[in-house]
């Protein structure tokens, strides 16, 4: 068996440190998702509305967030906030801000897509049965929208978890950073540890994201 340098993981509290790093990544994603969903629902609903100026602004916001590499956004918020607002957010707060802005933009597009994918005749047959506008939304449109939305937003969560691997660049000690630290610290004793350590990181990301994407698939099938 080739030497993967896995023994470095057993040294001290290295495994616990990796897990703590994973938790940092998950925590940032979960807080950001929790913020993205309500903002995204509001923005997405506005995007299906009649106000053209508002729609244009939201569209520009969405495109801007999509075009910008997340790393650039992270740098802008982390390094630019002091200059612009005289306030220095921690790396983790910067990450939450960027991920929430990003998540809200993606979410708004998902909400808009889900809303316009409900055929007009669903509104009409509901109204033809005598349901009021509010009842139509409550009993017909919102449940169908949510069913389309939930699997998609779960996929957004896994995308976010994966993207947290960038935040070591603004000094947040998450799982990738911990991995680097472990490798650095053992450079002399186990020079080949990099592969083994990153393999374990890979497995941890996988274990975090896999059940989430299974859940998304399951819901998608169930609510087809």
């Amino acid at each position: 068996m080739p030497d993967l340098g896995l023994e470095v993981l057993l040294k001290g509290s290295n495994i616990m440190r990796l897990l703590a790093g994973l938790w940092v990544a998950l925590r940032i994603s979960l807080i950001s998702v929790a913020g993205s969903i309500p903002i995204g629902i509001i923005l997405g609903t506005l995007m299906t509305g009649r106000n053209i100026v508002l729609k244009a602004i939201l569209k520009i916001y969405l495109e801007f967030i999509r075009i910008m590499p997340q790393l650039v956004l992270l740098f802008i918020v982390f390094f630019g906030s002091t200059r612009m607002f005289g306030w220095q957010p921690t790396g983790e707060v910067s990450a939450v801000i960027v991920f929430t802005l990003w998540g809200a933009a993606e979410m708004s597009d998902l909400v808009r897509g889900a809303l316009i994918s409900i055929p007009l005749h669903q509104y009409e047959s509901s109204e033809a049965l005598g349901l009021s506008k509010t009842q139509t939304y409550w009993y017909i449109i919102i449940p169908q929208t949510l069913r389309r939305l939930i699997p998609l937003s779960i996929n957004l969560i896994t995308r976010m978890i994966k993207t947290t691997s960038l935040i070591l660049m603004i000094g947040v000690v998450e799982i990738m950073k911990v991995a680097q630290q472990i490798i650095e610290a053992n450079r002399r004793s186990s020079p080949t540890a990099a592969f083994g350590v990153y393999l374990v990181v890979f497995l941890l990301y996988f274990l975090a994201c896999w059940p989430i994407s299974l859940l998304a698939k399951y819901l998608e099938r169930k609510w087809r």
């Binding site: 005749h121 009409e124 047959s125 033809a128 049965l129 005598g130 009842q135 449940p143 069913r147 087809r224």
Partner: protein
């Protein structure tokens, strides 16, 4: 008993300046079955949609018994309860089971007792041969089954009048019959109905009166015998000829 359920007077409907329905007059008596035929795009669907106030109209009046039907009217929901409509593309709600689809409006709109409506719904489902489908989702049903459920859903509101818009047009041929049979049965029960269809033999069998609409106008009307067998106008003859095949 000569009570008019539905009265349409001088109805005019335009889309962006194009006249779709022009001075349409129509009255339907209690228990009467009126069948509307006419070429595609002549305004049949639009007429039914106007009757249900899914479209606003430019002039004229539409009344259900004594109440004026208008898009945006305050009592619109109340009036719509009395108009059952079945569309061409089975518009069931995909996230609800068959029985939930049927119970929604009677329970939420008419505020009727769920248990009582459920009993009625199950009886009606049984009559259309779908009792065992009550807990199925629409996606598990064939087109013909969906249309029968849509009919039951409309019936459970105890409407004064039923509107059918080409309800068999999107069906595979072998499913057309099962849906038409349900409608024939409703006619036998003396339900008031306005039916848009391209099934001429069915029209012959079910109608008390047939209307031929062309280019937004009622061109000719009469008993099925008069209109379908001995049409008077050239246009009607031409149209009916489409349905004849001779060697």
């Amino acid at each position: 008993m000569e009570e008019n359920i539905l009265t349409v007077e001088h109805l005019r409907k335009e889309y962006e300046g194009n006249v779709i329905l022009d001075d349409v007059n129509l009255s339907v008596k209690r228990g009467e079955v009126v069948v509307i035929i006419g070429p595609s795009g002549c305004g049949k669907s639009t007429l039914l949609r106007c009757i249900n106030a899914l479209e606003n109209i430019q002039s004229g009046t539409i009344r259900l018994q004594d109440e004026v039907i208008e898009a945006g009217a305050k009592n619109l929901a109340k009036i719509r309860e009395k108009i059952g409509m079945v569309f061409q593309n089975y518009e069931l709600f995909p996230h609800l089971t068959v029985i939930e689809n049927i119970l929604l409006a009677p329970v939420k709109v008419q505020k009727r007792e769920k248990k009582e409506v459920r009993e009625e719904a199950v009886k009606l489902l049984e009559r259309v041969g779908l009792k065992d489908k009550a807990e199925s989702y629409p996606r598990q049903l064939s087109g013909g089954q969906k249309q029968r459920v849509a009919i039951v859903r409309a019936l459970c509101m105890n409407p004064e009048i039923l509107l059918f818009d080409e309800v068999t047009a999107a069906l595979d041929p072998e499913m057309v019959r099962e849906v038409l049979d349900v409608m024939l049965e409703l006619a036998r029960q003396k339900r008031t109905m306005v039916i848009v269809t391209h099934e001429m033999q069915f029209a012959q069998a079910v109608a008390d009166r047939v209307l031929f609409i062309d280019e937004g106008k009622i061109m000719e009307q009469g008993t099925p015998e008069e209109l379908l067998q001995h049409p008077k106008t050239e246009r009607t003859k031409q149209f009916l000829n489409i349905f004849h095949y001779e060697k």
